[in-house]
C-alpha cells in the first residue's frame, strides 16, 4: 500500500513535467515561426525581381561557426546575400569545436528531423547519402546548376573528389584557393648572425642546425639552443623525411598503379637514419613527442629555437610573438630540401582542395530552391559576395580587382578575418577566392607561400570510400598496425630501437596483415579512378 502511494507520487511528478515540456516547446515553435511568416508576406510583392527565387523561403542550416560568427540575415555581409537569393537563413546553433560539431551532427541525424542544409566532413556526408539521409544531387545539378556544372567540368579533380563510389554526388564542396599549408620556418636573423645561407640539401640542413646548436645564434652566451622544434609531434619532422622520397603525409602511395604502404618502404630507412642522427646530436627538440602548442611557442619566445615546420601563416604569427621580446626577429620560409638520392625536392603537405561539404536533407521541402541558391554561390557574382561581402561597404573594385575597405582591414583589433565573421561572413559551400586569402596575408608571406606551391606533389587521395566489410577489416587490422607503426617510428628516431631493426619491423607489419589492408586500399583506389 505504502509503496503504491509513493509510486503514484513519483509518476505524478513525471507526468507533470512531461506536460510542462509539451507546453513549453509548443509555445516556442509558434513564437519562432510567426514573425518570419509575416516578414515573407510583407516582402513578397516588393521584391519579386532580380532574385534567385520568386518566393521567399526559410532554409534551416546546420553549419560550423567560428566563435566570433554572428548569425543573422540582417548584417552588412549577409543581407545582400539573403536579399539576392530571397532566402531567410535560419541557423541552428552548432558547436565551434570540431569533435563537438561532429558529435552533434551525428545525433541530429539520429534525431530524425533534419535541417535543410548540413555541413560536415565529406565521408560523413557520403555515408549519410548512401543511407538515404542526404539527397543525391546529380539531377539537381544537371537541371538547376549551370555555374556549378561548369566548375566541375573544368576541374575533373573536383568532380572525382565529390563523387561517391555509387556514382552519386551527395554534397556541395567548399573549394579552397591555395594548396600550400606547411613549410619550414627559419630565423633569418640567426642565419645572418652566423653568416649562413638558407639550406638547400639535407647535408646543409645538418650543418646549419649544428651551427645553431654550437655557435650561440641567440647571443646570450649560453649553449641553450634547441635548433629545431615542433608542436606537431612526429609530423613536424616531415622536412627531414621527404627529401628521401617518402612522406608521413600519406599512409599509402601509388607506384605504377599499385597501392603501397609508406611505412615499410625501404627509402624510409634512410630517412629515419638521418632524422635519428639529428635527434641524437640534439638538433631536434628532445621533447618533440610531448610538445604542445604552449611549449612550442615558449621555445620561440625564449629564443632557444630557430626552426620549425608549421602552417605558413604561423610564420608571421611567430614573428609578431617573438617580436615582443626581440624586435629584430626576422623569419623566413624554406622550400623543401634536396636529398642525397637525387629525388627532386617535393612536399606532400598540402591543404585539401575541398574543405567540407554541404548536403541537402532528403526530406527537405526546398531541394530545387537550395540547388538554385547554391548555384548562385558558385557563380562569379555569388563568389564575390561570399568572399568580399557588400560592394562599397566591405570591398571596392579597383582596376577590376576587389579590395577590402578600411572597415575590414583597419579594424580596431587589427583582426580583419574575425571582423568579417562579426559582419556576418559565413563559410557556405562556394569557391574561395585567392584574393580573399591574399588580402589577409602580407605580400612577404604571400610570396613565401607561392614559392612552396611548385613543390607540392599530389598525395594519395583522401576522398576514398569503403564498404562496411572493408571498414571492419581496416578498423581491426589497420588500427593495430598504425599503433605499432607510430610507436616504432618514434623509437627509431629517438634511438631506443636501432635502425638495423628496421627489417624486423617490416616483417612484423607483414605478419600483422598489411596485405589484406593493401588489397582493400587497392580496390577502393580503383573505384576512385573509375568515378
Amino acid at each position: 500500500m505504502k509503496k503504491e502511494r509513493w509510486m503514484k507520487g513519483i509518476t505524478g511528478v513525471i507526468l507533470i513535467s512531461v506536460t510542462l515540456v509539451g507546453c513549453q516547446t509548443g509555445g516556442q515553435e509558434k513564437a519562432a515561426t510567426t514573425p518570419d511568416a509575416k516578414a515573407s508576406e510583407a516582402n513578397k510583392p516588393v521584391n519579386a525581381n532580380g532574385k534567385i527565387l520568386d518566393k521567399q523561403i526559410e532554409v534551416s542550416v546546420y553549419m560550423r561557426p567560428r566563435p566570433e560568427s554572428v548569425e543573422s540575415n540582417e548584417l552588412l555581409w549577409m543581407k545582400p546575400i539573403s536579399e539576392k537569393t530571397n532566402v531567410n537563413f535560419k541557423w541552428l546553433k552548432a558547436p565551434a569545436d570540431v569533435n563537438d560539431y561532429i558529435e552533434k551532427f551525428n545525433l541530429t541525424l539520429a534525431g530524425g528531423t533534419l535541417p535543410d542544409l548540413m555541413e560536415a566532413p565529406l565521408d560523413l556526408l557520403n555515408k549519410g547519402g548512401e543511407n538515404g539521409v542526404f539527397e543525391p544531387l546529380n539531377k539537381l545539378i544537371e537541371q538547376n546548376m549551370p555555374n556549378f556544372k561548369k566548375i566541375i567540368e573544368q576541374n575533373p579533380a573536383i568532380l572525382k573528389d565529390i563523387k561517391s563510389d555509387d556514382g552519386n554526388i551527395y554534397f556541395f564542396p567548399q573549394i579552397s584557393a591555395v594548396k600550400t599549408i606547411n613549410l619550414q620556418i627559419f630565423r633569418q636573423d640567426w642565419l645572418d648572425n652566423l653568416g649562413l645561407k638558407a639550406p638547400k640539401t639535407t647535408e646543409e640542413m645538418y650543418q646549419i642546425l649544428k651551427a645553431f646548436k654550437e655557435k650561440d645564434p641567440n647571443g646570450n652566451g649560453k649553449n641553450d639552443e634547441i635548433p629545431f622544434t615542433t608542436r606537431s609531434k612526429i609530423k613536424g619532422l616531415l622536412p627531414f623525411i621527404e627529401p628521401f622520397g617518402v612522406s608521413f603525409e600519406e599512409d599509402f602511395y601509388v607506384d605504377n598503379g599499385q597501392v603501397k604502404y609508406t611505412f615499410t618502404d625501404a627509402k624510409l630507412k634512410d630517412a629515419l637514419e638521418y632524422t635519428a642522427r639529428l635527434y641524437k646530436e640534439g638538433l631536434i627538440d628532445k621533447e618533440y613527442i610531448t610538445n604542445d602548442q604552449k611549449i612550442w611557442e615558449s621555445r620561440f619566445t625564449n629564443e632557444v629555437s630557430g626552426a620549425t615546420f608549421d602552417s605558413f601563416p604561423r610564420l608571421e604569427a611567430l614573428e609578431k610573438l617573438v617580436g615582443k621580446a626581440n624586435p629584430k626577429v626576422n623569419l623566413t620560409g624554406l622550400t623543401p630540401l634536396q636529398g642525397p638520392s637525387g629525388i627532386a625536392p617535393f612536399t606532400k603537405s598540402q591543404q585539401n582542395l575541398i574543405k567540407n561539404g554541404f548536403g541537402i536533407s532528403s526530406k527537405s521541402k526546398f531541394k530545387t530552391e537550395i540547388a538554385k541558391i547554391q548555384d548562385w554561390f558558385y557563380s562569379p557574382e555569388g563568389q564575390l559576395a561570399m568572399n568580399f561581402g557588400k560592394l562599397g561597404e566591405t570591398y571596392t573594385m579597383e582596376n577590376n580587382e576587389p579590395k577590402y575597405t578600411d572597415l575590414v582591414m583597419k579594424d580596431k583589433n587589427n583582426a580583419p578575418l574575425i571582423k568579417m565573421y562579426e559582419l556576418g561572413h559565413r563559410e557556405f559551400a562556394y569557391q574561395w577566392d585567392i584574393r580573399y586569402e591574399n588580402a589577409m596575408v602580407s605580400p612577404k608571406l604571400a610570396q613565401i607561400r607561392d614559392s612552396i606551391t611548385p613543390f607540392i606533389k599530389p598525395k594519395y587521395p583522401v576522398a576514398l570510400s569503403f564498404k562496411q566489410q572493408e571498414r571492419d577489416v581496416l578498423n581491426s587490422k589497420f588500427t593495430e598496425i598504425t599503433t605499432y607503426k607510430d610507436e616504432m617510428m618514434n623509437k627509431f628516431i629517438i634511438g631506443s630501437e636501432p635502425i638495423s631493426k628496421f627489417d624486423d619491423y617490416v616483417k612484423q607489419i607483414d605478419k600483422m596483415g598489411i596485405d589484406a589492408v593493401l588489397k582493400i586500399q587497392q580496390a577502393s583506389y580503383d573505384r576512385y579512378l573509375k568515378r
Binding site: 515540456v21 565551434a96 558529435e103 601563416p313
Partner: protein
Amino acid sequence: MVFRRMTLGGLAFSCINALVLGLIVVMTLYPFLYVVSASLSEQLYIQQGRIGIIPMGFQLEAYKRVLEFPMLGRSYLNTILYTALGTAISLVLTVCAAYPMSRRDLPGRKLMTSIVLIPMLFGGGLIPTFLVVNALGMRDSIWAIVIPAAVTSFYVFIQRTFFEQIPLELEDAAKIDGCSMVQTLFKIILPLALPSLVTIGLFYAVNEWNSFFPAMIYLNDEKLFPVQILLRAIVIQNQTDQVLVDVFDDKNLLSESIKYSTLVVATLPILIVYPFIQKYFVQGSMMGSIKG
C-alpha cells in the same frame, strides 16, 4: 599558551600536522592563484612560462574581451536559472526517492534499491538517451537541461543513508503527536536532514553549473545557451584547424590570457557560494534530538 601545556611529542605532532596541512593548502591553492595571475598577465610571459602567483605585465584587457562577448549576460542568466531550477527539481526528486527507501518497513525496498543502483553502474548510451529526450519533445527547451540529469543515483544513496540515521523513535513520537506521514517528512525529517540536503544540493548545483554537454547536444537556439557553452567557445577559439585563422592579429595576442580570465569568470560565482554553505557541513545534525 596552549603550547606550554603540551608534551614534546604533542608539540612535534602539531608542528608536523600544521606542516602537512599547510602543504596541502599550498598545493590546492596554487592552481587557483596561478589561473588568476595568468588571467591578469600578458600573453608573452605566459608563453615563456615565467608566471607565478604574481601577475607579470599587468593587463585587464583579457577580462574586457571576455565581458564584451555579446551573449554573456543572457547566458549567465540562463545558467543561473538552470542551476536554480535544476537543483530544486533534483532535490525534490532525490528526497522523494531517498526517504521511502530509508524506511525499513517499505515493501519491495530491495527491488527499488537495485533499480536505483543500475544507472550507477550502466549508462543508457548517448544516442538512446538523445532519442528519448527527442521523443519526449524536450529538445530545444530548458527541460532538456534540467530533467534528464535530475537524479543522480549516488546522491540518492547518500541521502538515504542520512535519512536512515535519523532514529525511528523520532517518527514514532511525531506519529503519536498526530503527524501524518507527509507532515512528518516536512516538519521533522527534512529540518533534521538540512545539512545533508544542502550538501547534496550543492553537488547538484555545481554539476548543473559546470555542465555544457546536454546544452551542446540538445539546444539549437542560442538564446537558451548556458554560459559554459559560450565560454567553451571562447577557450577553443585558438585551437581551430582553419589555416587562415592562424594569421596573427592583436586579438590573438591575448588568447592565453583570455583563456585564463574565461576560467575565472566561469568558476568564480559558484566558488563564492561555498563559504555561505560551509556552516552546514560542520554543523552536527542530531544534536539533542533524543534524550535518554
